[in-house]
Symmetry: C2
Subunit: 411 residues, 2 copies
Amino acid sequence: MRSGAIPCINGERLLQRLRDLAQIGATPGGGVTRLALSDEDRAGRDLLASWMAEAGLEWRVDDVGNMTGYRRGKTNEPPVLIGSHADTVLRGGKYDGAYGVLGALEAIETLNDLDIETERAVALVNWTNEEGVRFEPAMTCSGVAAGRFTAEEIYAKTDRDGLRFEDELRRISYFGDAANRPLPAAAYIELHIEQGPVLEAAGQPVGIVGGIVGITWNEVTIQGQADHAGPSPMHLRHDALTAASHVIAGVERLAIEQDDTAVATVGRLAIAPNIINTIPGTAVFSVDFRHRDPAVLDLQVERLRNLVNQISQERGVEGQVNRFWTSEPTPFDPTVVGAIRNAVSTLGLPEHELWSGAGHDAKYVADVCPAGMIFVCSKGGLSHCETESSSAKDLIAGANVLLLATIELAG
Amino acid sequence: MRSGAIPCINGERLLQRLRDLAQIGATPGGGVTRLALSDEDRAGRDLLASWMAEAGLEWRVDDVGNMTGYRRGKTNEPPVLIGSHADTVLRGGKYDGAYGVLGALEAIETLNDLDIETERAVALVNWTNEEGVRFEPAMTCSGVAAGRFTAEEIYAKTDRDGLRFEDELRRISYFGDAANRPLPAAAYIELHIEQGPVLEAAGQPVGIVGGIVGITWNEVTIQGQADHAGPSPMHLRHDALTAASHVIAGVERLAIEQDDTAVATVGRLAIAPNIINTIPGTAVFSVDFRHRDPAVLDLQVERLRNLVNQISQERGVEGQVNRFWTSEPTPFDPTVVGAIRNAVSTLGLPEHELWSGAGHDAKYVADVCPAGMIFVCSKGGLSHCETESSSAKDLIAGANVLLLATIELAG
């Protein structure tokens, strides 16, 4: 890198490519529907492939459709991998995923424009089926590259219409070779919109992501006694919903009292018989705890059990907690996070570190490769909706951070 | 009435008739399904008609199928009307309704057995479609007799299969003449199982019913902001369900803090989007308040509005309360209640007064005629289920109360 000049991306080119890609699958409400392995996904991939070719990248497709475009380095050492995913949810936004892919393309084109040679190759990746909306679960193909799933497991996944992943991958002509998988790599950086309200609330354009929080899902069942709303005096009731209400209020307190980063959510709730003039006999609800420390997750579940037991005893109901799924926290690699922090500092941006509350391809990649993420501010914290948005200024700032961090890591 | 002897019913005859009627529509689980105007209802009516004829009653059917059997008095003054309904809910019990009809028949047969002459006639009534399970709403045909509904309104009601009330009434051959309606009457007494846990908890066989509580139904809507469970810190959330939980806990307190007779129930609740990893954006739930004083119902709704406003302000959500239906309290007639109390006292039973938390035919009858009710203890407080039960001893005690109160009111 030439001393004395801070390289910076071509912001207008980045924004124009974001607009162009958003035309593919554009919805009347101003968003995008580009489900994995759909015709729109194919058209988006074709456009990306043409841009990669124009940028002089050698691009390849692996056996689950992951696309990788290589810009050669001075050595044959494993590349610095940068990218995200081009698929979207139903009626999603223009930036979730696409921004990370096109930000990576923009960083590479800037290296070209400025004739910057790096020791390591720099590679752009477009991961298949990150959203998991059409083929569950999410992040299937970064998962295959990282060894979490086999390709065969993913091939067998079917969508709502019974169409198989493998058949759809072949149909859109993006079935490639296992030898073309994007990993191993020397490092992985993913640029992404925050999808949350933290950066906006803090007035920050860019966030340095320290890791991805752990998640644990629990199902709480409260069994009381259904009864007529009229003839049962309050002191003779065993109302499952009033018991559940006290637990739900308590779950919120567990997060607040833990620390500023802990969250807890009751998102799903069903009561039975769910009739206006009948005391609820059963309440079943989910509790989602997230934290960066796995010990805190364990502690929160323990506190939930105690809370449910205590309230159940007080109210003469039966309470059960079933912890049925856990995703361990993923702290990002200090070297990669350090390169991102250096980039933020070089650009004179405020250094704001936060953790991701949601999963990303970087989570699985981090299993096998030093990884990190850059967030940019989401307006209103919104995502997975047509009104998802980030300012041009913040989008450009984030891509510049990616560029500088990539240059540092690629040497 | 002959001095020195307390008349009493033939308990075994009453219990045998309860068993016989329960054969019609008997379910494998030990209950009864005898929906209004079904083949089973017809068979039950035919059996009742044969028993009325055996007892020497002149029986008639009115234009909505209400059956009335008259035992003449010394005068032509309006009769004392006693009875209940023979229809049941789906997989209901053997006693809800049937006990009041057969208890009334037993009281009349006892008058016959003991050659007791009364000033006024005593008439047994079997109201059509009290349950409202097949043709909504409940208590349609006591409602017609009391002027709450016209027969034409009820004729037009259809069941789930689109069958009309009038057609079904004609099909089972119980379409009679409006001139045969059971009202006016000098007084009305309805004997019924409690369908609640109060008498059992108090160790009482029989309850003197002071009236039927008023009911008011409200729908509360909490509008917050749906968001991903991960990226939204607790202090930036507008969670509709945690807000609703505080309201639901508060609704319970409103009833407990009012007085021992107040009840409040949240029976129905829906949240959206109701997804495990999404903060609920909307919660809609019902609040059912019941009390014997209409001013307290108004006060409870006012307190609910204040509670919803306060919690909404604290939590940055929008809360609304829609009071959409009210049934005024129905205090029973002091003379009828007094006659029931005298009967309880004469029999040496403990005098326990309570109000009915649920509706009964007596509610509409009370609009146009002095009315009262007698409750007997329901095991476990259960009803509208196959395991609904009352002890033989209590069933006999309740019928004896009906007998003595009828004698007092008929003179």
